[in-house]
Structure formats: C-alpha cells, structure tokens
C-alpha cells in the first residue's frame, strides 16, 4: 500500500514536472556550456548546481568567480537575487509543516520552478502529499544538475535547432498565472503582483526592481488585509 502510493507519487511528479525537464534541460545545459567556455572544469558547475541550486544566481556567480576574490559581495548578491524565495517559504509554511524527515530537503530545494508546481496547491489524485512534494523537488534538482553536467562535460552545442525553447519557462509562469486567475474570486493580489512588479521594473531597472516590488506587495497586502482576509477561505 505504501510502496504503491510512493510509486504513484513519483509518477504524478514526473508528469507535472515535464515542462521543467524541458526548461531546465535547456537552461542547465546552457549554463554548463557557459562554464565550460569560461575554462572551468566540470566539477565547478556541477558543484554550483548542487549547492547554490538557483539558476540566475549561478549565471551571475559564473562571471563573479572569474573576477577578484569577494566573498562578502557573493553573499550579498546571493541574498538580493534570491530574496524572492522568502515569499515561497511563507506560502509553503503550513503545507510543509507535517512533512517530517523530508522537510529539510524540501526547504533546501525550494526553487522558483518547484514552488510554481507545489504552490498551486493541487496534489494529483492517488499521490501521497509528502512523497509528491519530495519527488517534484528531487526531479527538478536532478534535471538541473544532470543538464548542467552534460553541458559542462561535452561542451558542444545541441545537434538540433533549439532556438526559442527557452520560452518554456515563461510559458509555464504565464499559464500558472492564467490558471490561478481562473480559480480566484477576485484578482486583487494577481493584479497587484503584476502591476507593482512592472512598475518597479520601469522605475528601478533590472538590478533592483525585485526587492522593491516585494516590499510594496507585502505593504499593499497588509493595508488591504481586512478587505482580503474574508476572501482567502479556510486558511485565513
């Protein structure tokens, strides 16, 4: 019975992470290739994929480690670039609460794409919640690390024309946005997140917009708490 639900959870996780397999397959491969072109041995990108495990920061670190030794800068850049993960933790607090010994691994691997699958809230029928969370996290990490390794070891371009395949991740986020839009009774938070982030991007530029957007989003949601909390359903 238990073995059966573990297998069913793994199967369900594989199905829901298929778009991530394509997206990470491509991005991880490009990242490995990039590190190879900078002259790094494959162990470096593979180690970075395993320890940092955050795509955009790894690309930034790739160029930083070709420069001078600056550990404090690396730390601060890491905090700023990945501050959005704080939101994922807050949103997953209750769902990860009863995950037992799997919990540390789930927290360690809470990247954008894993949150995008698990943050939607639905667990496929027949899957066990905890094992499903685990396999989605594990598969996404495996795709990322393996694709990085292939790019770093072989260091040659894909044999077929892959131009444009990187759109799979924007397409994932867009369809999640629309899907969430269709399920909600009011669109205050959706529109707020979209509008504030866009406004901050235009006002502050690509380097600083995300932190500003996060602060404004939290501020706005707190200001309208009285109005919004009756609409959040059972978890308010």
């Amino acid at each position: 019975m238990i073995a059966h639900s573990v297998a069913a959870s793994a199967k369900a996780a594989f199905r829901t992470t298929l778009p991530i397999l394509i997206g990470f397959g491509f991005c991880g491969f490009s990242y490995g290739l990039y590190m190879h072109s900078l002259g790094f041995e494959p162990i470096f990108p593979i180690l970075m994929a395993l320890t940092i495990f955050a795509g955009s920061l790894e690309f930034i670190m790739a160029s930083m480690i070709t420069g001078p030794f600056a550990p404090v800068t690396a730390f601060i850049v890491g905090l700023v670039v990945n501050a959005r993960h704080l939101f994922y933790g807050i949103a997953m607090l209750d769902r990860y609460r009863d995950t037992g010994p799997l919990k540390p691994y789930l927290i360690y691997g809470l990247v954008d794409e894993t949150f995008s699958i698990l943050g939607m809230g639905q667990v496929p029928e027949g899957a066990d919640k905890r094992w499903y969370y685990f396999f989605v996290t594990l598969f996404n990490e495996a795709y990322w690390v393996l694709a990085t390794a292939v790019g770093a070891v072989f260091g040659e371009d894909m044999p077929f024309d892959t131009r444009g395949i990187e759109f799979v991740l924007p397409a994932l986020f867009l369809s999640i946005f629309v899907s969430s839009w269709q399920q909600e009774r009011q669109h205050f938070s959706s529109l707020g997140g979209l509008g504030i982030t866009l406004g901050c991007l235009l006002a502050f530029g690509t380097a600083h917009f995300l932190l500003a957007a996060m602060l404004f989003i939290v501020f706005l949601l707190l200001v309208f708490r009285k109005k919004l909390s009756p609409l959040t359903g059972e978890r308010a």
């Binding site: 778009p19 470096f44 970075m48 320890t51 940092i52 495990f53 955050a54 920061l57 030794f69 550990p71 730390f75 890491g78 905090l79 990945n82 501050a83 959005r84 993960h85 704080l86 939101f87 933790g89 949103a91 607090l93 209750d94 927290i107 809470l110 943050g119 809230g121 131009r163 444009g164 395949i165 759109f167 924007p170 994932l172 986020f173 867009l174 369809s175 999640i176 946005f177 629309v178 899907s179 839009w181 269709q182 909600e184 669109h187 938070s189 707020g192 997140g193 979209l194 866009l198 690509t206 995300l210 957007a213 989003i217 939290v218 949601l221 909390s229 959040t232 359903g233 978890r235 308010a236």
Partner: protein, 110 residues
C-alpha cells in the same frame, strides 16, 4: 583566484540562497502567526504576477525582433490556457509557437 577561493565564493552564494529558503521556516517553527498565514494565503497570486514580469525582465529574448515573438507566443499561451484550461497544452503550444516564430518568421544568425 585559487581553487579554494573559488570554492569559498561558491559557498557564500550557496549559504545566502539557503538563508532565503530557511528563514520563514526557522522564524515560524511552532505556530504560524495569523498575519503570516494571511500572507501565505494571498501571496501566491501576487507571486505568479511577479514571476511573469521577472522572466521577461530583460526585454525581448531575441532583440532583433522588437519583442513581437514574445508578445505573440505569450498571447498563444494565455489564449490556450483560457480556452482549454490544460497547462501542459498551453506550455507546449506557446513554446512551439515561439520556436517557430524565432526560427522561421524572425530568423537571426546564430
């Protein structure tokens, strides 16, 4: 840089990243305060909007085409999702549409 210095740099970036993932769980280990539970419930919708802007933050992925492939492929993704409500279909359709646009309609060398 020596290999050790490189490893330290990587370690610092990894530490910072883990800190951003662990902080909420360490702060609210016992009971989630009601304001945090409220944020946890309303934040996801805002995060999806934030992530959409985030993934297009650098403007058009292919600069020579003024963003037309991005706009068309995004419209295809949104349209498919609104119509069929099947995420796998929306993602595949939008991506194939984008690949066709940048490879055939707006081809660039490289």
């Amino acid at each position: 840089m020596t290999a050790l210095q490189t490893a330290v740099m990587i370690g610092m970036a990894a530490l910072a990243t883990q800190l951003t993932r662990w902080t909420p769980f360490l702060l609210f280990r016992r009971k989630t305060p009601s304001v945090i539970a409220y944020l946890g419930a309303v934040l996801p919708s805002a995060i999806w909007g934030m992530l959409v802007v985030y993934c297009f933050r650098n403007g058009p992925l292919v600069t020579a085409s003024n963003g037309i492939p991005e706009i068309l492929a995004s419209a295809a993704t949104i349209g498919l999702q609104a119509w069929k409500r099947n995420m796998a279909l929306s993602i595949a359709g939008g991506t194939l549409c984008y690949m066709a646009l940048v490879q055939i309609v707006f081809p660039i060398s490289g």
